[in-house]
Symmetry: C2
Subunit: 268 residues, 2 copies
């Protein structure tokens, strides 16, 4: 059964997009059927998966606002011989907030949930399998786009940069997840917290790790993503780090994160 | 005369808050009268200037949405013997987008501009001097909060992280600035682009620097802010890096940035 995971954190620059791209690629590399949904007006996940703005005929804006079916908006990411699908994002998404607000639409936070539910029904009618994982890359805010992702998702994956400001924002994020669970999506779970940009050479990283593991226990993945410049070089080549340099520490960490996630899913 | 500078970039985690805190402190340290306006629902600038959530009686939300006068919402930041004022931010700000949208208010992007204009008038009537610099820390999006900042500002300071994704977002930001200049604020200028988290050990930083200087020339400050862990440690002590460790490379760079800015202002 398809599992929809929102990759969310309103703090900026914590590794949401890098996680969507590389976790998605690592899952696809071991045979999982993966769709990445780029819900960020910056469209970084689309660029990092090798689909530049000129190739984005349909986007997540079309799915949310124009009723374009998911299967029509999906393109295959250009990454070597790995099958991974993408619905690109683009700057039109930044208009969603105001367009949905002023229309006073009662279901403004359910647009994505309705679209994914209809997609599942159509697939089931045709007897086709769906995806194993749908990863939604969220923008750095708790606005209508992120609320749509949290309402459509089965669970939330929280990348947490090993920095003080990132830690400060975690409480707000947890409150928002609680509020969504109470009203918009009662079955929303926390997939886990993944520590990113961990730098063993500085105390701050270890302090944040100790704080977070102390507070959230088993919700925190054992796998940590180290700070690794190869992860930030890969997008300029339009490739996930797993393809750009599959032996670098960043790629190895995302491969480990994928297998830890699959292992946890089997145990449940 | 008071100069209002919006510190903006919709890309997350590029150093907007760190620049607001440390550039503000460096300007105040040399005798400039400075007000920092925390327009981010995360309230990071307030924390980094030593004003925790419990001490935020009035916030920028009150100024924008409840008509609280600026002088009433202002507190003095707790930083050693340097005079620097702050209007704190808090999570209530994340409601502004929807509250202003659904009210269909015609001047929803002028709330901050009106508040600062009224504040200047009141000061002039009393024969009081205003601030020399008002620095507005913006959230990572091009939403109503950032549009309010761009509409109220004399100029925009753009922190640009030396990374590929940050470079990709610059075009969108420039389009937005153009659009604001064309409709909401005809005199909006670009104060400059400041390269942040520059790491001389990796090629990516140098590539980004060459790209940006090649494209934007004199608009790019000569001063670059190096990646320096002391800058990210300081907020956990509730202090600007300039107070926490005034000799570290990060603090020295922000002191240089302040003097470069003052020098450029004198030349104009
Ligand atoms: N583990 C890492 N090591 C080094 N650099 C990284 C790592 N993870 C991400 N980066 C880089 O840090 C920057 C921020 O990461 P990314 O863009 O993935 O974060 P984000 O949370 O998606 O940002 P936004 O909030 O703007 O959407 C990017 O330039 C990225 O290439
Ligand atoms: N030059 C630097 N060297 C090292 N770390 C830095 C530097 N500048 C900022 N940081 C750290 O990087 C993280 C991101 O910086 P900061 O929060 O200032 O960015 P921002 O643009 O305000 O983020 P947001 O988009 O979430 O508002 C913070 O944890 C900060 O402490
Ligand atoms: Mg992103
Ligand atoms: Mg900030």
């Amino acid at each position: 059964r398809e599992r929809i995971i929102a990759i969310a954190n309103q703090k900026g620059g914590v590794g949401k997009t890098t996680t969507a791209i590389n976790l998605g690629t690592a899952l696809a590399a071991v045979g999982e059927r993966v769709l990445v949904f780029d819900l960020d007006p910056q469209g970084n996940a689309s660029t990092g998966l090798g689909v530049p703005p000129a190739e984005r005929r349909h986007t997540t804006y079309d799915v949310l606002m124009r009723g374009t079916p998911i299967e029509e908006a999906t393109v295959s990411a250009n990454i070597a011989d790995i099958a991974l699908d993408l619905i690109p994002g683009d700057v039109e998404l930044s208009a969603v907030e105001l367009e949905l607000a002023s229309a006073q639409t009662p279901r403004r936070n359910f647009r994505l949930r309705d679209a994914t539910a209809q997609h599942r029904e159509r697939r089931a009618l045709k007897g086709e399998d769906g995806y194993d994982y749908v990863l939604i890359d969220c923008p750095p805010s708790l606005s209508t786009l992120t609320l749509n992702a949290l309402t459509a998702a089965d669970s939330v994956l929280i990348p947490l940069q090993c920095e003080f400001f990132a830690l400060e924002g975690l409480t707000q994020l947890m409150h928002t997840i609680e509020a969504v669970r109470a009203s918009l999506n009662t079955t929303l779970e926390i997939q886990g917290i993944v520590l990113t940009m961990f730098d063993a050479r500085n105390n701050l990283s270890e302090q944040v790790e100790n704080d977070v593991r102390g507070h959230f226990g088993a919700k925190v993945f054992n796998t940590m993503i180290p700070r690794n410049v190869r992860l930030s070089e890969a997008p300029s080549h339009g490739k996930p780090a797993l393809i750009y340099d599959h032996r670098c520490p960043g790629s190895l960490a995302y491969a480990r994160l994928a297998s830890e996630m699959l292992q946890r899913a089997r145990q449940q």
